[in-house]
């Protein structure tokens, strides 16, 4: 069959379908909904998982993050007693010195605090850390500079603000060079880095929050010590934590798992209680990817079922159409149409039907995520493969479910078909 005749058959198919507009539309509906929902679901799913994966990736796939965790029993007992837990300066030193695959380790103290500038006051999280932090946790530097070694050695009263805290605290004023007051001390703002949105990724608290002020570790130890006092609901909660967090950089991505294991073994030996948690972003990433795969399989099954239903709908209508057009088939055969040409005619009709349904479905599938994104604020990504796949599948549905009615049409005996009333 050459292209010219093929196009004429397509035109004939479209014309025949247009004779029964309502019926054709209702027949297409199954495929429209099938394809539309698949793309929409994939878009939402991909959007969510991409966001999660991106957050995890930002933690650094070559990093291991160790957090201090307050043990359960300390949280439940009366709050007057001091709770002593968490990572220690010794842990940091031991990990750095004894595990060869660790290329760098960055500690952090997290101190919830109040900051003042003039009359304004706001809650702020003080992060005491080393300059290495800014290498491991990649954040764009918006203005000024990052913390330096000289800040460490000099116990300088300097801080780097996140963009968000800079805006809230200093509003319209000149930010760099300004001084904010935390507790009894003033800190000069030397730099601003971009804030990260989103708090937790895959159960790991991201190393930074939106409203942070980074100060040198040495300064933090000197000014704040290791005891954090938090007033909560009238009671005062005191805890002594040397380090709240450590970010460990591993020399090679292949060593991440083994290093994490080594760190856990070491911590187990020196801690009487499990007052820490080791998180491996890489493992979380793998897990997120696996989850995504499972999600895709589930989605694929749903898609398969809905398209199956759509296909059965098409087959049903085409079988009715074949019966209805028995005489037409007889006439065409008597005139000299070959069986294969009858098959072609009916098959093209179903393919036109299903692929038109597929195209409409794609239009829906692309639009719905936009609406979801607009109203629900969920990030969505319509993957290109979803569109290509849907179109391919809807054509396939047309072929698979159109073949049987078409063959039945072609098998009709022309003599019987011509007599059919």
């Amino acid at each position: 069959m050459n292209l010219h005749r093929f196009l004429r058959l397509v035109r004939l198919g479209i014309k025949t379908l247009l004779l029964h507009k309502l019926r054709s539309m209702l027949t297409m509906l199954g495929v429209v909904f099938g394809v539309g929902s698949v793309i929409a679901m994939l878009a939402v799913g991909t959007g969510a998982s991409e966001e999660a994966q991106e957050q995890i990736r930002r933690l650094g796939s070559q990093n291991i993050i160790i957090n201090s965790v307050q043990p359960q029993e300390d949280q439940s007992v009366e709050r007057v007693r001091m709770s002593i837990y968490g990572l220690t300066y010794d842990d940091e030193r031991r990990i750095n010195e004894t595990i060869p695959s660790v290329s760098r380790i960055v500690p952090a103290k997290l101190i919830p605090s109040d900051a003042r500038v003039g009359g304004r006051q706001m809650e702020l999280r003080i992060v005491g850390t080393t300059p290495g932090w800014f290498d491991l946790v990649e954040r764009e530097l918006l203005a000024g500079r990052r913390l330096q070694e000289s800040d460490m050695t000099g116990n300088s009263n300097v801080c780097v603000l996140t963009e968000r805290s800079a805006r809230r605290l200093l509003a319209t004023e000149e930010v760099l060079g300004n001084r904010i007051r935390v507790g009894a001390n003033y800190y000069e703002v030397v730099g601003i880095i971009r804030s990260e949105s989103g708090g937790a990724a895959g159960g790991v608290q991201t190393p930074d929050q939106e409203i942070d002020a980074y100060i040198p570790m040495t300064t933090a130890r000197e000014r704040f010590g290791d005891i954090v006092v938090r007033s909560r609901e009238g009671s005062r909660e005191r805890s002594r934590v040397e380090l709240h967090q450590m970010v460990v950089e591993v020399d090679h991505i292949d060593n991440v798992q083994s290093t994490a294991l080594a760190i856990e073994n070491m911590l187990e030996r020196f801690h009487r209680r499990e007052d820490y948690r080791v998180s491996v972003p890489l493992a979380l990433l793998r897990q997120a990817e696996a989850t995504q795969r499972t999600f895709n399989i589930v989605l694929g099954s749903i898609a398969g079922i809905s398209l199956l239903v759509g296909g059965i709908g098409i087959m049903n209508i085409m079988l009715a159409s074949v019966t209805e057009r028995t005489r037409e088939i007889g006439i065409r055969r008597a005139i000299g149409a070959r069986r294969s040409q009858i098959v072609g005619q009916f098959l093209i009709e179903t393919i036109v039907l299903s692929s038109t349904g597929g195209l409409i479905g794609i239009a829906f599938g692309v639009t719905i995520p936009q609406i979801i994104e607009y109203f629900a604020g969920m990030p969505t990504i319509v993957p290109f493969y979803a569109i290509a796949l849907s179109l391919g599948i809807s054509v396939a549905v047309g072929i698979i479910f159109g073949l049987y009615p078409a063959i039945r049409a072609a098998k009709l005996d022309p003599i019987v078909a011509l007599r059919y009333e």
Partner: protein, 243 residues
């Protein structure tokens, strides 16, 4: 089509002598199995229709005239015997080859017109040309010619339902002519028409016969059969007489 070609070659000697006989049936039998019973719809029929002749096949219902027309129209194959059409033995051809024979050599006119309701007059006439693979412009030109020949050039855009019975039958004749067939087979062509319209249709068929077409009609009406040059009377699957 290769099969047909080889067959034609092997029959060259006879083909020359057969050129006068457009249609030749040699001891053709058609047996249907009805449960355990065998029905001899055609019980051994031999007849020749010459090129450019005009035949009427007559007989009561059940006499085998419809079976004969189906065989002549290559819509069915004989159980035994040979059917030579335009010098080719078509009695053992495969389904696709029979389609090709119908498309090339035959034109059909039916009692109930059998136009496709969804298509316009022009599209109905063009139907054989579609399967012959004609270009649409050529095909439209041919459809106009044929419509003019049957006097319906101003009805090309109409649907069959918008035409009278006589007009519909004329469209059917135009369609039967589209592929320039050797033989036109008509099954009770006036059966659904009043007598004066029927007369017009028969005049049209007679004119076509005068132009050289071989025409075979099946009818039970003597007035219709009178138009033909030869009348073949069937009875119980056999030729009763020819006059």
């Amino acid at each position: 089509m290769k099969d047909i070609q080889t067959q034609t070659d092997s029959d060259t000697v006879t083909a020359a002598t057969e050129s006068e006989a457009m249609v030749r049936l040699e001891d053709v039998r058609k047996i249907y199995e009805m449960g355990s019973e065998q029905v001899h719809a055609l019980a051994g029929v031999s007849v020749e229709f010459g090129s450019g002749s005009f035949w009427a096949i007559m007989g009561p219902s059940g006499s085998g005239k419809s079976t004969m027309l189906n065989l002549l129209g290559c819509l069915d194959r004989p159980t035994s015997g040979r059917y030579i059409l335009s010098g080719q033995d078509v009695s053992r051809l495969e389904d696709d080859d029979l389609s090709q024979i119908r498309l090339t050599y035959l034109g059909f006119v039916f009692q109930s017109f059998n136009l496709i309701a969804q298509l316009t007059v022009r599209e109905n006439i063009e139907l054989p040309l579609f399967y012959l693979g004609w270009e649409s412009r050529e095909s439209a030109k041919r459809a106009l010619e044929l419509a003019t020949q049957v006097g319906l050039e101003d009805r090309l855009g109409h649907r069959p339902a918008e035409l009278s019975g006589g007009q519909q039958q004329r469209v059917a004749i135009a369609r039967a002519l589209a592929n320039d067939p050797h033989v036109i087979l008509a099954d009770e062509p006036t059966g659904n028409l009043d007598s004066s319209t029927g007369e017009h249709i028969m005049e049209l068929l007679r004119d076509l016969n005068k132009q050289g077409k071989t025409i075979v009609i099946v009818t039970h009406e003597p007035e219709v059969a009178r138009w033909a040059h030869h009348r073949l009377h069937m009875h119980d699957g056999l030729i009763d007489r020819i006059d």
